[in-house]
Amino acid sequence: MLYFSKLRILFITLFSVLFILIASSNLFKFDDNFFDKKINLGLDLQGGSYLLLEIDNEPVIEQKLQNLTTTIRNYFKEKNIKINNIKIDNQNIFFNVTDNDKQSVLDVFQDENSDLNPYYPRFKSHQLEIEDTGLNLKVNFSRQGLIKLKNSSQDQAIEIVRRRVDEVGTNEPNILKRGNNRILVELPGLDDPMRIKSLLGKTANLTFRFVTNDENDRFGVEKLKFENGLEEATVSKRIIISGENLLDAQPKMDTQTNQTIVSFSLDRVGAKRFGKATSTGIGKQLAIVLDGKIISAPVVRDTIASGSGQISGGFTFQTATDLALLLRSGALPAPLEIIEERTVGPDLGQDSINAGMIALAIGFMLVIIFMFVKYKIFGLITNVTLIVNLFILLGVLTLFEATLTLPGIAGIILTVGMAVDANVLIFERIKEELKDETNNILAFDGGYTKSRTAILDANITTLLAAIILFFMGSGPVKGFAVTLGVGIFTTLFSVYFIARLFTSIYVSRNKNKEKLI
């Protein structure tokens, strides 16, 4: 027990030195090619914004059901099956069938190869569920169908969110899925999230539609408000071109009118349709509608065949830039709501770092002085172990590029306080052994073996708490769980390797000393 082989001593020394080097790489700049890992600072320390967005899938479901009614109607028309009175109510489609046709309709919905109602073999479920309520049938999305729909709208939304955030150009944004209807956006270093918040709050659904007074318009009409909220216009539901047809959009200064405008260019399909519409619609007003509000409704004066055009609407340069950005990055499949926001300014972050470091330094000093006063030489050993332990802990965090948060720093300080426990358990045990044992080396051995279960128990209980925190906690609290959990392992290592090495050297040199501790 007392004996440490040369190889083992070498290993312990190298290991400790290695981690001290790794830990110090956070302070000094090494060559990046050689070693470029660093502890990440959490948003609460470096400042930044944390936004949790929830996708409102209701409109998507409504839209899909709307499309489905058309599909269902056409499908059965082709098959010469009569269905009528098809309508949507509370996310269900209802329609009537005749007694003769009922079974064939049910069969279509339950057919595993049906192209009307896709079947997911993996989940043993159709996209749609049909409920037999007499001659009136009810169709709605199955559980799997809804999950698929939510997943796909989340996939689309995260892509758009990423494009918008990238366009604003913050450094290293972190955009992640949460569940199947949420998106987490972390924006380090962002002081004022208002612009991004307002950009993410817009669906950016752009359409060009004619203003009409024809109540009998084939596609139906709707009354829409202008952006200023005062005027109104009746607009056809027929969409000439939409945001999907845009290739590019840029803010520009119109040299003639001295107004800020957004100029856009269209893809081939869009250009064709735009050209056709402007040639037939000369003299008519073309409404440019964004998210259900009319930005402007200029009168068509000429055929525009070039596939490019411009939107004016009393923009400032900022609003024009934002609109262009939104148009370039595309429309969200569904509206997003910010359900949680946490923003920390950079100076508060720096203050937190400073306070954390001061607390760490003071806590460390207090513990070290206390241990030395209380334990003398063994206190010294504990203190050296503590210092190495701290470096190894920081080294491990660096190696895994863990995120350090303010509670994480608290976790490190707490680890310093609790790390002495194992050493104290051992030293106290050695003391007790020395009461009946005159041989220092045997007492030393006994101290280590007999304290082992208590140390193990004690650390496992703390580790369990840390693990639960890691999985249940969010953001900053997770950082606490990480440092606390990693701290347990580094503490055990430094107690059983480093402290024991020093203790064994001390004991073997003082084999016959009367009062060892």
Binding site: D44, I339, S352, I362
Partner: protein, 299 residues
């Protein structure tokens, strides 16, 4: 040797009273949940103008129709913490507030931190906090059950409940805010309290095997004394570290470190005066441990 066992009954009574009072507080006064668990908006504001103070800020915010607004100093004279419910979950509330404050205070203030938690999220956070604490208590129960005889498990778990309930009781009494970091503190307290109890129990069990003629009443006292030096040093260093966080770690960590300090104090106390007295009251003897040892051998 200190006669801890002389006061077993006194402290049991005290603990019972503490638990009952804490439970009554928790039931009738309840906890002061922060926006993490209640939803709402929090703004930490730093002023560079002495015109900005608690009352002028309160006046301003009360005019904005935000529901219940609380304005407090935060650490020093220039920092303030403003909290309100934001019941309608208004979207651009922060911009509106800024525009409004600009009118009265100009540019002499700065938002250092803004947190906005919607009602859905706060409900989820509360749920996961409760699950986390319950789960950790359950895991500790299972762990201690595997490691020790049932009498010991009961003692450890009672001590654990005592620490958690009394700590929360103190938070209720002084209306201290419960937020996410307090949940972290409570979980750590659970770990620490268990740790402390297990160390003494380990010794009790060892002594039970060693001495057949000493009654548990005496034996627990011997074990407490034998481990006392360790108990004092570990809780002292842990408390030193926590005090450093409390006094120097900044305002944000105050609640967290206070909860931990309370937890460590209660945890140390309960290992001695709750966990051990359960063993005494259940008349644990050498047989209890040996029976289990035999069973383990058979298995």
């Amino acid at each position: 040797m200190i006669a801890f066992n002389k006061y077993y009954n006194h402290f049991n009574l005290l603990s019972s009273v503490l638990i009952v009072v804490s439970l009554l507080l928790l039931i009738f006064k309840g906890l002061n949940f922060g926006i993490d668990f209640k939803g709402g908006t929090l703004i930490e504001l730093r002023a560079s103008d002495s015109k900005i103070n608690v009352s002028s800020l309160r006046d301003r915010f009360n005019q904005m129709d935000l529901g219940d607004v609380s304005v407090k100093k935060f650490g020093n004279d220039t920092d303030f913490l403003v909290k309100f419910e934001n019941k309608d979950n208004k979207k651009n509330i922060i911009e509106e507030i800024k525009a409004n404050l600009d009118k009265s205070f100009g540019n002499n203030y700065d938002f250092r931190r803004v947190e906005n938690v919607g009602p859905k999220v706060s409900a989820e956070l509360l749920k996961s906090g409760v699950i986390a604490i319950s789960l950790s208590l359950a895991l500790m129960l299972i762990y201690i059950w595997i490691r020790f005889e049932w009498q010991f498990s009961l003692g450890a778990i009672l001590a654990l409940f005592h620490d958690v309930i009394v700590t929360l009781g103190v938070f209720s009494l002084f209306s201290l805010e419960i937020n996410l970091s307090i949940i972290a503190a409570v979980l750590t307290i659970v770990g620490y309290s268990m740790n402390d109890t297990v160390v003494i129990f380990d010794r009790v069990r060892e002594n039970l095997r060693k001495y057949s003629d000493i009654k548990i009443f005496e034996l627990t006292n011997i074990s407490i004394n034998e481990t006392l030096s360790r108990t004092i040093i570990t809780s002292a260093t842990t408390l030193l570290a926590l005090l450093a966080i409390y006094f120097f770690g900044g305002e944000i960590l105050k609640g967290f470190s206070l909860a931990m300090i309370l937890g460590v104090v209660f945890g140390t106390y309960s290992s001695i005066y709750i966990a051990n007295t359960v063993l005494v009251r259940l008349r644990v003897s050498q047989k209890t441990v040996l029976r289990e040892d035999d069973q383990n051998k058979l298995n």
